[in-house]
Every structure is written in C-alpha cells, then in structure tokens.
Symmetry: C2
Subunit: 300 residues, 2 copies
C-alpha cells in the first residue's frame, strides 16, 4: 500500500559500457549520483538500461557499485525480473537485503499466451520464495516487449494475497486507456506511466509520478514540473518537458539517450550499446541535438 502521497520521477538508468562492452561501473556511479542530485530516483535495470543484455552477476556488481558510492538504497528501485523463478528470486532478494526501495519485476517474457493463473502463480512463487515483509514489488507492464501483459485480473489477485508487498505498477504499454484503468481500479498503489508527457493526464487521476526513459536526460525539469503541479508554474514546465520527450522518442531510445549523456559528460564511450541494439550514428545524433536545442532543452 502507498504510505506516502509524495509524487516522484524515476530514471530507468541507462547502463554505460566500456569499449569492450563490459559494464563501466565508474560511469554508472557518476551518472546515478548526478540523477539523484537532480532530484530523480533510480530505476536501475529496466528496458532502457539494457537489463536483459546484462547477466545477473553483472547486475549484482552494478548494484553493489551504487551502494559503495554512498547512494541511499531508498532511492533505488531494482529491476529484477527475468524469465526464470530462481534468477528473479535471487535478484529480488538482493534488492530486499540491501534495503532498496523496491523491486521492479517483469513478467516471465519468453512464453506467449500465458494464462492469468500461470502468471499469478509465477509472481506468488517469487514472493513466497523471497519471503520478506520488507519486499515491495512494482509490476512492470510492457507487453510490446514481453508479449505477456500483466492483466488487471492478475493485479487484483496479487493485491488480495499480498496487500503490503504489491506496491505499484509501471505501465510502459503506451496505451493511455490501460493506464487510466490501472489508476481507477488500483487507487491504493503507485501507478507510474512511462512518459513525462503523460503526467498532465495522469497526475489529476492520482498517478505517483513517472518512470521515464527521458528522465535520464531531463531529471530536474521533470522533478520541478511535478513539484509545481497545481500551481501556475506547472503548465509551462509541463510543456517544456513534453516537447523534449517528443523529440527523443522519435529516435531509437537507448542509443539516443546514451548520445545525450555522452554529450553532457564529455565521455564518448557512453554511446556504446550491447548487441542486439545498435548505437546511434553521428548523423542522426547531430540532428537529435539540433532538435533538442530547438525544443528548449537546457542540458538537464
């Protein structure tokens, strides 16, 4: 259950790689510290983090690096969903043992045409195996990647069985009618749309904020728009963050975000992605920067 009405923005943190494509832990620490300083929470190991291209072992090391850097685990939501129960349990347990704010869990995404019974049972077994009252789960609904929607029926059953553990939903479907349904049916938990452009429609209905890829590049602007909600300063701030979002989402997201971070930090290696993704090339990257400037993007 939501214990606070604080609204917030999380960045699904992009993951930097060295030229040999190993995770660059130093750059990861620095980007995360910067995001927290700018007022964003960290949703590490999400889709735009290339989490599924990173092994569980590498994810453990990267989480450890953030804690070693002195980042408060209460600022960290850990993406811990894999296709298998044992791996999901291991990663979720790690989030709990390190007192992270929560675990953001994908449904198992290999099989298709999964029944509600099977999906409920998957989450229930993960929760039972982790076996901690401190566990807080955010369900990660992104059917265009997983092919496995987290249906309202499954959410309802999980909430009934585990009212304290099911803390929220990240709705990355991009389907507003679905987000609206989550907001109206589950007012007791945190519902996060996946784009700051949706805040305008979602905040009046009780959304908890957003978990948005583009929070990697405009965290402060999003946080200050959320902070101004209900005041006369809000509309203009919302317009600016929506305009920036609109520019970036026309590009392949991960490649584009990494190019923008590379520009901010001056570290060119930030542009690297792991296959099967491909980096954004120079020509579209140049166009992206020009369009961002025209949209009023300030650099953060």
């Amino acid at each position: 259950m939501r214990e606070t009405s604080l609204r917030r923005v999380y960045a699904p943190v992009v993951t930097p790689f060295k030229p040999n494509l190993e995770v660059d832990l130093l750059s990861f620490q620095e980007h995360c510290k910067w995001l927290v300083d700018q007022g964003a929470g960290l949703a590490i190991f999400g889709t735009n983090s290339e989490a599924n291209s990173i092994s569980p072992h590498e994810r453990s090391q990267a989480l450890r690096a953030l804690l070693d850097a002195g980042i408060n685990p209460k600022n960290i939501m850990v993406g811990s969903g894999t296709c298998s129960i044992p791996e999901t349990v291991q990663l979720t347990r790690e989030a709990v043992e390190n007192h992270c704010e929560g675990a953001l869990i994908l449904p198992p995404y290999f099989y298709k045409n999964i029944s509600d019974d099977g999906l409920y049972d998957y989450f229930a077994r993960v929760i039972d195996a982790v076996g901690s009252d401190e566990l807080r789960i955010y369900l990660y609904h992104i059917p265009q990647f997983t092919g496995v929607p987290i249906t309202p029926g499954v959410v309802e059953r999980l909430l009934k069985s585990y009212p304290k553990i099911i803390a929220g939903i990240k709705d990355s479907s991009g389907d507003w009618s679905n987000t609206e349904q989550f907001l109206s049916r589950f007012p007791g938990i945190d519902i996060f749309p996946s784009s700051e452009a949706l805040l305008e429609k979602a905040l009046p209905l009780g959304a908890a904020g957003c978990i948005s890829a583009t929070a990697n590049v405009q965290p402060k602007a999003i946080a200050s728009a959320i902070g101004a909600y209900g005041t006369t300063a809000y509309p203009q701030r919302q317009r600016t963050i929506s305009a920036v979002r609109k520019v970036v989402q026309d590009y392949p997201m991960v490649g584009a975000l990494k190019r923008i971070v590379a520009q901010r930090t001056g570290e060119k290696t930030w542009a690297a992605v792991r296959p099967p993704l491909t980096p954004l090339q120079d020509e579209p990257a140049g166009r992206l920067m020009r369009e961002l400037a025209a949209a009023g993007f300030q650099g953060a």
Copy 2:
C-alpha cells in the same frame, strides 16, 4: 558445414521437476537414456524443455548429470541462447568444453524490431568470445516466441564469416514457406523443421531430419520413419507419426508431453511444470490419452 548426410531426429527434451519444482536430475537422466536408446538425439534446453524457466546454473548441473550418466556428448545439442551475451557465451562454452554435438542458440529475445546488423553482431560476438574451432552452432528460429526472426540475410552473413561454425538451423516458425526458403538457400547446412509431420515435404528437399517436441514420446517411430525414407515402408510410418503429432499439438505442448511421459514411466510428478506454464489437468489429459490410442500411438 554438414559433413554427413545422416538424417536424424532430436527430442527437445522435456525437463522433469520435483514437487518443489527443483529440477529432478535422476528422472532427467532416465528419460534421456531412454530417448537415446530409442534412436533419438537430445536437444536439451529448448522451448519445450522450459529452458527459459531454468537458470544457467541449473542448466549446467543438468548437463553434468547427463554426462555423469554416461551419455555420449555427441548425442547432445545444448540450448544455450539467453538474452545476454555473457550468459550465452558461458553456456555455449560449456557445450564446447564438454564436446557436445552443438549449441542451439536462440536470438536475444527481449527487444523487438531488431536490425539485421544488431542480430548479426550479437551472434558474431558470442562466437568470437567462445573462440573455439570446435564450436558448432544451430540457429534457433522461433519468432512466435522470440519476436526476433533470424532472417535469411543474417544466416547468409554468419555463414560467410563463420562457415565451419554455423552448422544448421532449427526452424520452429511453423511457416513452411520459410523452411522451404532455408532449405533452398542454405543447402550446405542442416535444416531441421520442428515437426515430424513436415518430414514428408522436407526430406525430399534435403532436410537433416527434425527436432520435434513430440519426439519426446514417439522417438523410435520417428527414427524408423526417417530410416525408411525412400522405401515402400515409409508412407505408412509417416502417416502414423503425423497422426500422433496432430493429436498432441492440439493441447498445450509441454503439459501434454509431460503427461504422456508420466504415463509411460508411472511417475506422476512428471506432470509438473514451472510457472508461468500450467500443468495439463486430469480431464484433458484423459481425452488426450484416448485420442492418442485412437491414432495408433503405441506408447513410444
């Protein structure tokens, strides 16, 4: 490159679980020994093995169990594809180090709309990282689950770069025109359709046999149909195996196969599956057995 014209059948081996859903290594050894005795090769850790519901660590233990049971690694094709390069490299390397017949590799299946460049680069990096001339890769095309088709363009580029390493394709698309295209464009490698019912069309075009889920339950019948190809005994044998296949494929495949193995071995725990899959219930299982008997299924 194919060095033999021997045609063969592989069973994508179903994986038994104990009541607590741990992998049941003893039952796994026994089922695999039985399959080999019946004339089938073992394609372990495929879709119908629930491989994606089993952690890499559990997969290593299960492979080790087969080798400990004295099964010739040349009878084993190891499913080693995950979404991440490090894990795929680790599992593939294990197959090579244990002198297995080959590695059956899924494309990374989380992201969608993957470019041919990105997919080629993924496989190339895996091959380069494993770094062994003994590596033999079978590409696993099953777009209805992965959302990432292995296109003829990618196969062509991989064959050009790694002519000795790319050994074949398992085409589980169920799209005959695609199988036909693979057979005609890549005559130098082993093309396996995913159903014994397709042997009739595929063998005349040079297919290497089949890797079929239902080989878990009728391995000998499939092997003897393949063995009789070109003789007067073939048509009747083909009709029988196709009829059995037709019955089973109307049921949820993994649940149905496990029920049939449970019946053969007398071990009821064989019926267990890992969530998000659900076991086949008693009523449809009873119907399945009656339909199988009517189709002439002999029990093996």
